[in-house]
Symmetry: C2
Subunit: 497 residues, 2 copies
């Protein structure tokens, strides 16, 4: 490729190429997590790593580097300028990594996921430990190829949420701990019993019907999506008109699939409402993890755990679920908001949830400042759970092995869950200025809320950094007070504190 | 790439690259047919066509051509020599095609499938007609880039079944027609009524349980496979340890899913039993379509429609299917072998089946010698069905739109269905010399038959041409008499002719 004046056209052709490889890899990943038989894993992982290597070669080719560098000194339209800036940042992270190291790391990650699944199924941390240590070590190796002097974990945090550092998260988690722990303590002292109906068995096919009903209620269509089953619920973006989700069905914990669905539909709706003009472009996929979580947690909690949301559909749900026949709407709402320190993050109530994230954040900090390693991490995990939540996992499956993220080397991802939850409260505060949220939900008009999200947030894709968008939409910088207020108010009302 | 002495190593690296792209495309294709939402189709199709273009560039790169040409003048091990010969044949078909024409054709094919699905659902031939004509025209264009003076349709026939020509198929179909039509006439004259239980409704979830039971009985494991649902049943090879199938469930025609499953598991078992040493190599995937169909039809008919196969499991099936409670095993066997001219090929009985294929073969011949076009093909189809089978489809969905193949530009594929059926009778004749097939099935030991197929046929992958393998395994060249004898004997017994 020669650098002709028509850089912009080359830039778009380049993005089309990247998009084609990305879609192939996204499809293979979705396939691997949903339907692919386990025995085909090693071969598939090798082939996926090969293709990731091809994509790596494409994005770090000398002419690609030269084009981005030239373009980043020039000005096009505002969207392209932003896109080039983001692409240059990504490129600078990758360009000095030797391809063989990159490909070996990709294959390690794929195989690590298969090993994690097996380790989790048998609750065998010893099986996962060596590969986890490799993932940590190799992540450090990859980061060492960046020309970046910041601490490794600060770099990783910035990868997942632009602009965030350990100092920011320390402050954020300190506030959450000091404001929330006393409330959790007060609730514990009230000795409210967990409603027994939460543990009633609901057959998988009935849960699937509820999931379909909720999807419809949230305006999530199978014409542009799909609902599959996986070990760990996730959403996958294929393109503007193809955004899919997964759930998992636990027969003796039927609310799990309900909130997994609502959460993942939040992600899918975000991806599905990005301006179609950005299809196939980098800017379409560069939303941060915290921003994404702010949408999924908004759906799951702000909407999905509110009485107004359930009011118009609860009778229909009761018609499907025998276990809810004798449960009133108010009892149902109290149950799905029941606060109790528990072991599994994705099943945790809203109030204790950020403490689960804090456990992971502190461990990750330790793994990258050298004070912790994979050795004994199951015990470190259990100790922290005991210290912050007052309960201790008796198995690794209920502890350190519960989440998929580390098997994917996604270190620095977890804190965005708490941060996104906090963003979501700030969005809600802004939404309330424009819309009577309760009345809208009771009128069964979720589409109006979806439209507000599209207009204010979704359509922009990854054009704005989180701090910019927060300011633009809510009129102020990130303010965790909304989150704390929301949590404390809700708990105070529900538990009459 | 420079042509160093180490051509063999380069050859294997090249195959690894091809395998990676092929697996990506196979996964995207499986995904598109099974779970992907329709609205994502146009974007996905464009991206898939792009990747097919990438693969095209890889396989037709000057250094790839040079290497194959040099290697084809040398001798390595017998497997590699065979592989090089096959790859050279493929290369010679593709090398002179301009890439843009190839990519446009790929995208046309993907979009044609989506249009076909829509046309079939609404029984609207006019919707499919223009794209079908494009597919025919563009297939002719692609073939015109080969340095091959044979008639276009002879070339296409050879693509799907090495060595076969119109002259061969004319002879083959003439024999089938002259030997089978009188038998069909005799059966028709007996006026035997179709058993009413064949039309009883069986819920989809019950059918799915029967499908699972049959899969287990055929030693088809979800550890190395998967069973999904699609509009048109198919099997997809991913790798030696990942071979999947689809079925479709028709509530008022429950035997459809049964035989789709058995048929597709035949394909999957073939792919799954190829020598693992060939994983990622061309020779693993170069079995001909006729050879493949000989396995699926062997499973479906020779095994799946035999009394010995059902004897050990029929009681269990009856336990699942209410509609079979009052149907004896003998009545069941008579029903699944009921002979009656019908409209849908994949639901046809064994005796009329080859006539369905003949209709398609004659139409394809006409499309490529210029005596037919897409114009009025729905009527041509209906006329031929009436002439050969005595019944006329009243809708395009029941006629010309029923099969997926033409939407994929797979012209020349259909005849291999009849040919494969004929091969399968020759395999059965050979198997009987080594094994008491009925006793083995009654003893519930299908694994013994599977092992015989692995040893004689499957493990070789695409190493041998069909004619070679037939000679090697059965001791004689292809002989359609076994097929005719099998069909006539079976009909004579069942209908007491």
């Amino acid at each position: 490729m020669t650098l002709t004046p028509d850089l912009l056209q080359q830039h778009h052709q380049f993005q089309q190429k990247v998009a084609a490889y990305s879609l192939a890899l996204a499809t293979m990943s979705w396939d691997a997590y949903t339907i692919a038989p386990k025995a085909g894993g090693p071969y598939r992982n090798r082939m996926m790593a090969y293709l990731q290597g091809e994509l790596f070669s494409i994005t770090t080719a000398p002419e690609a580097i030269e084009r981005i560098e030239v373009m980043s000194t020039q000005s096009y339209d505002p969207i392209t300028d932003r896109e080039i800036k983001q692409m240059k940042k990504e490129l600078d992270k990758a360009r000095y990594i030797p391809k063989d190291i990159y490909v070996a790391f990709s294959e390690l990650v794929h195989n690590a996921n298969d090993i994690w699944e097996q380790a989790k199924a048998t609750s065998d941390y010893a099986l996962f430990k060596p590969v986890l240590q490799q993932l940590i070590d190799q992540t450090k190796v990859l980061v060492s190829y960046r020309n970046d002097t910041r601490p490794v974990y600060d770099q990783l945090l910035d990868d997942f949420e632009t602009g965030m550092t350990m100092a920011d998260y320390d402050r954020f988690f300190d506030k959450l701990r000091s404001d929330l722990v006393p409330v959790i303590k007060k609730i514990k002292d009230k000795m409210v019993q967990k409603p027994e109906w939460l543990d009633r068995k609901v057959p998988v096919d009935v849960q699937a019907k509820v999931v379909d009903l909720l999807a419809k209620h949230l305006d999530y269509s199978k014409d542009t999506g799909a609902i599959s089953v996986s070990v760990h619920p996730f959403s996958q973006d294929f393109s503007a008109r193809d955004n899919r989700v997964t759930v998992r069905y636990l027969e003796d914990q039927f609310t799990s699939s309900i909130f997994a669905l609502i959460h993942e539909v939040g992600h899918a709706t975000y991806n599905g409402q990005v301006d179609v003009a950005y299809d196939g472009r980098y800017i379409r996929k560069s939303m941060t993890y915290g921003m994404h979580e702010s949408q999924s947690r908004f759906f799951e909690n702000m909407i999905g755990r509110s009485k107004a949301f359930w009011l118009p559909i609860y009778a229909e749900v009761q018609g499907l679920v025998d276990a809810l026949k004798d449960v009133s709407l108010d009892e149902f709402i109290a149950g799905i908001n029941f606060v109790e320190p528990s072991l599994i993050r994705i099943e945790a109530d809203e109030l204790t949830y950020p403490l689960h994230v804090m456990v992971r954040y502190e461990i990750e900090k330790g793994l990258f400042d050298g004070t912790l390693s994979a050795e004994n991490l199951d015990q470190v995990w259990a100790d922290k759970m005991e210290a912050y939540l007052g309960i201790r996992p008796q198995t690794a499956a209920m502890g350190v092995l519960q989440d998929v993220h580390w098997s994917g080397a996604a270190f620095g991802y977890f804190p965005t869950y708490a941060l996104g939850s906090a963003y979501s409260a700030q969005w809600m505060h802004a939404l309330r200025k424009d819309l009577d949220v309760e009345a809208t939900l009771i009128a069964n008009d979720f589409k109006a809320i979806k439209a507000w999200l599209a207009d204010k947030i979704h359509r922009h894709g990854g054009v704005y950094e989180p701090a910019e968008l927060l300011l633009q939409v809510t009129g102020e910088p990130f303010n965790p007070q909304y989150y704390v207020d929301y949590l404390v108010d809700k708990a105070t009302t529900l538990y009459q504190l």
